[in-house]
Symmetry: C2
Subunit: 210 residues, 2 copies
């Protein structure tokens, strides 16, 4: 059976969780306890040598070990409803925003969090290797995050979805990033009316409660 290796409190596996729900794909879930470092233990390392969640065991019995792999696989194997666009131009716009949200939103939040949190000491990056915290990188992450919120606010002016006038992985990742920003005490506010309107609309989708 399709199995998602998940952690209910973590943003990265939430991307896969929402994607599976939006495509209506039945699956089992195994919780991996990031708080106790289960992802670095021998048992999970055999499942995913990258020591990250999510991982997805496919129907064919292959383990996919990144959101990149999971997203590409699920879209090709279960094309409907499409989450990466259908026309070349829609695919371009969705891929563009998906990439921007990852590099300009999601990563800066992770940088701000992982480079300051006491719980993340020596764990400035996910994965099997330890990296020391860099306080300046946390500061830069917070600055970039403010810029990202304004860019997303501008993009959502007169739009119901982040990209290509349709619900897509860009909306999924944007919701995950915006919600994740709380961990560094950043929330959209009165400077971001379109972002708040879009986030409220997204909350109507059952997948977003996951």
């Amino acid at each position: 059976m399709i199995t998602l290796y998940d952690c209910a409190t973590a943003p990265s596996p939430r991307r896969a969780r929402i994607l599976l729900a939006e495509k209506g794909i039945a699956h089992a879930t195994v919780q991996v306890d990031l708080k106790t470092g289960e992802q670095l233990g021998e048992a999970y390392r055999k499942i995913n040598p990258q020591c990250t969640v999510p991982a997805l065991l496919t129907e064919e019995g292959v383990m996919l070990t990144s959101n990149a792999a999971i997203t590409a696989y699920l879209e090709a194997r279960y094309p409907l409803p499409p989450m990466l666009g259908v026309t070349p131009m829609d695919k371009a716009e969705i891929a563009d925003w998906h990439w921007r949200i990852e590099f300009e939103g999601f990563m800066p939040i992770a940088e701000a969090f992982r480079n300051t949190s006491a719980a993340m000491l020596h764990r400035a990056l996910p994965g099997p290797a330890n990296y020391e915290q860099i306080p300046q990188l946390a500061e830069r992450g917070l600055a970039r995050l403010q810029k990202f919120l304004m860019d997303l606010e501008e993009q959502l002016h007169n739009r119901d979805f982040v990209a290509a006038r349709q619900f897509s992985v860009a909306d999924i990742l944007a919701v995950v990033a915006i919600d994740f920003a709380r961990i560094v005490k950043v929330r959209p506010d009165e400077r971001h009316p379109n972002l708040l309107r879009w986030r409220a609309a997204m909350a109507q989708r059952p997948s977003m409660a996951l």
Copy 2:
């Protein structure tokens, strides 16, 4: 006519340059002089508000302003030869490695370079906003780059291509990253025999001279 906004000496537009060549897509090229900061000037800002190269003007007259957008568009609009895989599992493996090479290879090199080079003062990140250099991030980039080379060496054991037993965007980005590493004085060596074998084979493709 399809037009690539390029910079002959820069690694990011090289990704698009090679992709266009591998798909055999005729196009015009406009050079943007990154050395004099042309990408930050008013004229180019109107072409690409992100102030980055590559940008691609499509046949339909739409400007695509990131490799993410360009890659998704070209694969959908000109499907042959495929560069993102065809089967769900091949697509997964190619997307996985493409993502890993970007985050674990290409970005660490950029971090090592942009956070130390005198020419990149205040320009630790591409784009319209200035960010100060963080020397610790350069050091971390060099450490991650060494790990990436070993991971890629291991992946290329008994393989002719990075992913899914076929030439793909993963090979393109890996070549661009490995060659770009010279800028921080890192080159594959006797510790990386499979990587050297693969790079020599890649050199047989005319696109790689671009």
